[in-house]
């Protein structure tokens, strides 16, 4: 048996899904958090049941890729749990009636039930049940209230199958149900509601947006640096270093396996940023440098998501984003891209047109350095002075704008207008925030670590075979001539196909000037997506578009890298 969780966007389907299956799913307070579908399973009696968290949709006539997924999934389900936002019953019931007309056995979860009271909404659930003809269970997915009852009632799911209605008839039917089952009382505005209006109105909203973004940036930088300085560096230098030195001795201080595992000794000891061994530099870059930033970045992003801030940012930035060929909602995948391009590329599904998705995806790969790259830029370039880090970020920002302007003029197709629901602000629950953080950090480690270790292994092997010398000589005209980098930097560029963080780390032993480091980090982050992003781009947008994006990226990198080299 297969159960589908269906409903409007942002009604808590993913939270409910996590509750009934025990599978973790990313939950946020904005429409379009779930863009693919997540599968899980639950036990009902003795039967193992498949549960699918379907992306939210307002109606069964799909208008975006995510909604298309939803409509298609409907043909493959046996039972539907229609998740309904109790605070917004009227609009939610439209989809409910559409679903009923499809004739699948159904049960309604009246979610966000706890929110109805302070909003002055009273819903007669029993009445609603008799009007709809299917079981209705009030739930609070975030806290778990009503979940047990919901599961108990799944076996009572019924197929009503009323005659198909026209749109007008359906709305009229919704109106009839609302009048009988719901009463609204007047109530006063809460401070949260005042804040939510203030962050939407331009006069107050723009200062709030600037404040929120600047504060987030400094929080990420400050806390990330703090974790490195006080936690990860001491662990590596005081605890891991002696272990590695022992291993180095055991391996005889040199040789193939020594170079692969420990790396080269620098002045007789291990240098975590330069030795380039799998167990030294490999682990240090991922756990010592990148992980601290990943942790704090996703914590800050998670809090902003759960409060419900991002859609407001999308509204404020919409007119600027239109000039770059996208609408405001593209700010959500773009911000996810500051964490990792892989989920960001997937999140471009919330954009309706192919053109818009292509532009957003290309810009994410070209001009938005991921958290891993940023961590390395902070560490490596920051050591030369923060003004250089500022230059790197400013260059990326300018590239993002200029490339957006160019793509908007050259890419065929249309970019539709923004049409989104602005969710009410909600106070994030610590449990929810932490569980999402864990989910994202875990998937980062799971996906990144094998590639990181693999990349370092491959590099060690190629080094020992002397392949890089040949490549370095061959590419010297480009690397040295245009970018002004030593020819050995080509190794970093090659590693950049696999992992950007390791690639930037490989600039460390080259004793570059500050200017060269700036050029190097910009070139590495821009010129090509890492292998994980490469695969995701091809999967999401197709191979032809990937090739187009790659062409754009390579040309842009040569132009920008060359110009920077001339200026710096």
């Amino acid at each position: 048996m297969r159960i589908l969780l269906m409903g409007n966007p942002n009604v808590g389907k993913s939270a409910l899904f996590s509750r009934i299956t025990g599978t973790r799913a990313v939950v946020s307070n904005y429409a379009g958090t779930t863009v693919g579908f997540t599968k899980g399973s639950m036990k009902l009696g003795n039967e193992e049941i498949e549960v699918i968290d379907v992306p939210g949709t307002y109606s069964l006539e799909p208008t975006s890729k995510a909604e298309e997924v939803a409509a298609k999934m409907l043909q493959e389900g046996d039972v539907v749990i229609n998740v309904v936002d109790a605070t917004n019953l009227e609009r939610n019931l439209y989809l409910t009636l559409e679903l009923l007309e499809k004739g699948l056995p159904m049960i309604v979860a009246l979610n966000l039930w706890d929110d109805t009271k302070h909003r002055g909404i009273t819903i007669d659930a029993a009445k609603l049940e008799s009007l709809l003809g299917v079981p209705v269970v009030p739930t609070v997915a975030v806290s778990g209230q009503g979940i047990k009852e919901l599961v108990e009632h799944i076996s009572e799911a019924r197929s009503v199958k009323p005659a198909p209605r026209t749109k007008e008839e359906r709305w009229a039917a919704v109106g009839g149900i609302i009048t009988e089952a719901q009463t609204l009382a007047h109530r006063h505005h809460t401070w949260l509601e005042r804040l939510q209006d203030a962050s939407l109105k331009p006069r107050t909203g723009i200062p709030i947006a600037i404040l929120a973004l600047v504060a987030s940036f400094f929080a990420v930088r400050g806390v990330g640096e703090g974790i490195i300085q006080y936690i990860s560096d001491p662990i590596f230098h005081n605890l891991w270093q002696p272990v590695m030195m022992r291993l180095s001795d055991a391996l005889g201080g040199a040789g193939f396996w020594h170079d692969v595992l420990v790396g080269r000794l620098i002045d007789g000891s291990i240098n975590f940023s330069q030795s380039m061994g799998v167990l030294t530099t490999g682990l240090y870059i991922e756990f010592g440098v990148v992980l601290p930033y990943i942790l704090i970045f996703y914590l800050v992003l998670g809090i902003m998501e759960d409060i419900g801030y991002l859609p407001r940012l999308a509204v404020l930035l919409d007119s600027i984003m239109h000039r770059l060929g996208m609408h405001g909602y593209a700010i959500i995948p773009s911000m996810l891209g500051m964490g990792c391009a892989v989920p960001a590329l997937m999140a471009t599904r919330i954009l309706e047109s192919k053109r818009e998705r292509f532009i957003a995806a290309t810009l994410i790969c070209i001009a938005i350095p991921c958290a891993a790259s940023q961590a390395m830029i902070f560490g490596l370039v920051g050591a030369k002075g923060w003004q250089y880090v500022t230059i790197v970020f400013a260059v990326h920002f300018i590239v993002w704008i200029v490339m957006g302007l160019i793509l908007n003029r050259t890419v065929k197709g249309f970019s539709p207008e923004l049409l989104i629901e602005i969710p009410p602000y909600r106070l994030p629950s610590p449990r929810g925030v932490l569980s999402k953080l864990w989910l994202r950090v875990w998937s980062f480690l799971k996906e990144a670590l094998p590639i990181v270790l693999g990349a370092i292994f491959v590099v060690s092997v190629l080094y020992s075979l002397g392949v890089f010398d040949a490549i370095a000589n061959f590419t010297a005209p480009l690397v040295s001539g245009i970018f002004g980098l030593p020819k050995e930097a080509v190794v970093a560029i090659i590693v950049g196909f696999m992992r950007k963080d390791i690639a930037i780390g490989m600039l460390a032993p080259l004793s570059l000037t500050a200017g060269q480091l700036v050029v190097g980090s910009v070139v590495l982050t821009m010129f090509f997506p890492c292998v994980a992003a490469f695969v995701m781009f091809a999967k999401e947008l197709g191979f032809k578009r990937l090739l187009a994006a790659l062409g754009i990226m390579i040309i842009a990198t040569i132009v920008v890298g060359g110009l920077l080299n001339l200026i710096l």
């Binding site: 109606s59 749109k167 859609p311 509204v315 404020l316 919409d318 207008e417 049409l419």
Partner: protein, 80 residues
């Protein structure tokens, strides 16, 4: 009759309420707005409009919807 003048939601003042009369333009636009609860006969209140012809945000049934400027121009209302 002057207070029943038909205007687009772009022309509403912040905080002003109005009733949706019709949604001009293609079927796609009307369809999407309709599914989100913005449809003829509904009462809406303008919450804000973003700068430089940015989206117009209205509240309808205690729920806020942001509508891109071009689309917003097609939502005709009469002030109530």
């Amino acid at each position: 009759m002057s207070d029943k003048k038909k205007i687009s939601i772009c022309e509403l003042r912040q905080g002003q309420s109005a009733r949706v009369v019709e949604i001009l333009g293609g079927r796609g636009v009307a369809e999407r707005l309709n599914a989100m609860g913005v449809r003829p006969g509904k009462d809406i209140t303008k919450v804000s409009s973003a700068p430089m012809k940015g989206p117009v945000t209205v509240s309808v049934d205690r729920c806020q919807i942001a509508i891109g400027y071009g689309m917003a121009q097609k939502v005709t209302v009469e002030v109530i």
